[in-house]
Amino acid sequence: MKNNIVQFSNVSKLYPGVNALDCINFNISKGSIHGFMGPNGAGKSTTMKILAGLLKESSGEILFNSEKIEFLKDKSRIAYLPEVPAFYKGMTVDGFLSFCYQIFFKTKIKKEKLKYVLDICGLESVNRRIINHLSKGFKQKVAIAQSLIIEPELIIMDEPTVGLDPLAQIELRELIINLKKEHTIFLSSHLLHDLSLICDEITFIDKGNIILSDTLENVLEKQSDKVFVTFKSLNWSNEFKSKIQSFSKCEIKETSSNNYMKIKCIFDFKIEENKFLKFLIDQNLEIVEFKKESADLEDLFLKGNK
């Protein structure tokens, strides 16, 4: 049995006229990076706020290390990073982190501890600067530093990469992977590629219902009932298209390029790619590249939305 840090059992949240969460059940394993995905308005932020103790569930039970979340006395065990990080914008970075430490532990932070967190998050160079004067990437790092300063067991991140440039996204991704060593991470993101790179577990929510929740490997394996074969051909024509469809029913998407056509065949069932490749070669199709791809989170997301 897996060691779960969080267990949601039949949790519902009713807003006036809206059922934001409808008896959701899922677990978060200790030490994992748990991705939480779903379309806008699916209930991700509500779930995260309930777990962070900022909202009260209408019914159901949430256990944190087998302890009911409403009876959790030490709130420093869970850190929450909202989609738009909240700062006292007139404070300096180190002043803000010291204040965050104080409101959890009611004592002043040790300099070594502050330096350690600034170091991990790459904030040493800006520690004396006013938060409002920092770039968005640095602000996001301050938000992560704010959660690390209290040494939580669980860090909840709601869309941490929103609005960041690609370089800042990569840096943040690496930082999150490093955090996994000492913390459990529960994060939501619309950047499905990022989730697939860093997550161990995935939960998909839609319209307040959990559609699936499992390890990333299982999710992709179980949920993928489509196979994608992509190849580039130098002599592609419509004749080949009908030949392929007579060989095996599939959806074909064509993209033209300067010297070749890129063809994507989408099969609704498993196929043996070597047999398919042999068939293509037998048809005298000049192929310069051939690859089979399995479904990724993007396909899963689209499928879930349908």
Binding site: A52, G53, K75, Y80, V84, P85, A86, Y88, C100, I103
Partner: protein, 244 residues
């Protein structure tokens, strides 16, 4: 207790490092000085009675009015801005108790008011040099002002916790404060003794008048302390309802 001090320290740093406090202090000093000077030069004969009726009583009435005007301006952002900026969730999600957050903020504004009222101590000092001494009256008047300010601020803090709009928060504060001031009007108009007594007791101006006349009634102290407690307690309920 530590939690209160943490919030108090943070809020005071905010006030003393921004220009708003110094602008308020300057404006307050100017207006009080102006009124004091004008009341003083209009007194033709300096006797205990004329100084009391023509200078001290109207001046403290004006200070009370200024405190009334300033209190909602000082409290309007106290929770509204935190709510708008999202930092309120940071505070409410921390290990601080609601009462620590509320009292820390309340005491921070009371400190500002205390600084402003301390500035007014030039009034009894100046009058002392022209031969007017009534330390007990000044003491009770300052205590009355301080309680009135606490009362206004507790209403302002409640208003600020209700909405994230600072303008709306200040209007709610003014509305609440004026309601408790003008309760004295229907109290004067009614002939029903019980209703009259009840409205009088609820009116803040009724209690302040005692302090301004040098009298400290225990029921006035109970009134101020209990009303402040009630408004701050309702504030904690409003904050806890955010979860629902």
């Amino acid at each position: 207790m530590k939690g209160i001090l943490i919030i108090l320290e943070k809020e005071l740093k905010d006030y003393f490092t921004t220009s708003l406090f110094y602008i308020i202090l300057t404006a307050f000093s100017f207006v009080i000085g102006y009124f004091f000077f004008n009341y003083l030069i209009n007194v033709k004969e300096f006797t205990t009675v004329t100084v009391l009726t023509n200078v001290v009583t109207p001046l403290f009435g004006n200070i009370n009015l200024l405190v009334l005007i300033l209190s909602p301006l000082l409290t309007m952002k106290i929770f509204s801005q935190e709510s708008r900026d999202g930092t309120l969730d940071l505070l409410l999600g921390s290990n601080l108790k609601y009462y620590e957050i509320i009292l820390g903020k309340f005491l921070s504004i009371m400190t500002i008011i205390f600084v402003l009222l301390t500035y007014c101590s030039f009034v009894p000092i100046t009058l002392h040099f022209i031969g007017y001494d009534n330390p007990y009256l000044f003491f009770t008047s300052f205590v009355g002002l301080f309680f009135c300010a606490s009362f206004y601020i507790s209403i302002g803090i409640l208003a600020s916790s209700i909405t994230s709009n600072q303008i709306l928060s200040s209007f709610l504060s003014y509305g609440g404060i004026l309601f408790f001031i003008f309760l004295i009007q229907p109290a004067r108009a009614t002939s029903n003794y019980i209703v009259k007594s009840a409205l009088q007791y609820l009116s803040v101006s009724y209690h302040y008048d005692y302090f301004a006349k040098g009298a400290v009634a225990s029921y006035s102290l109970i009134y101020f302390v209990s009303m402040i407690f009630i408004f701050l307690f309702i504030t904690s309920i409003v904050l806890s309802k955010r979860k629902w």
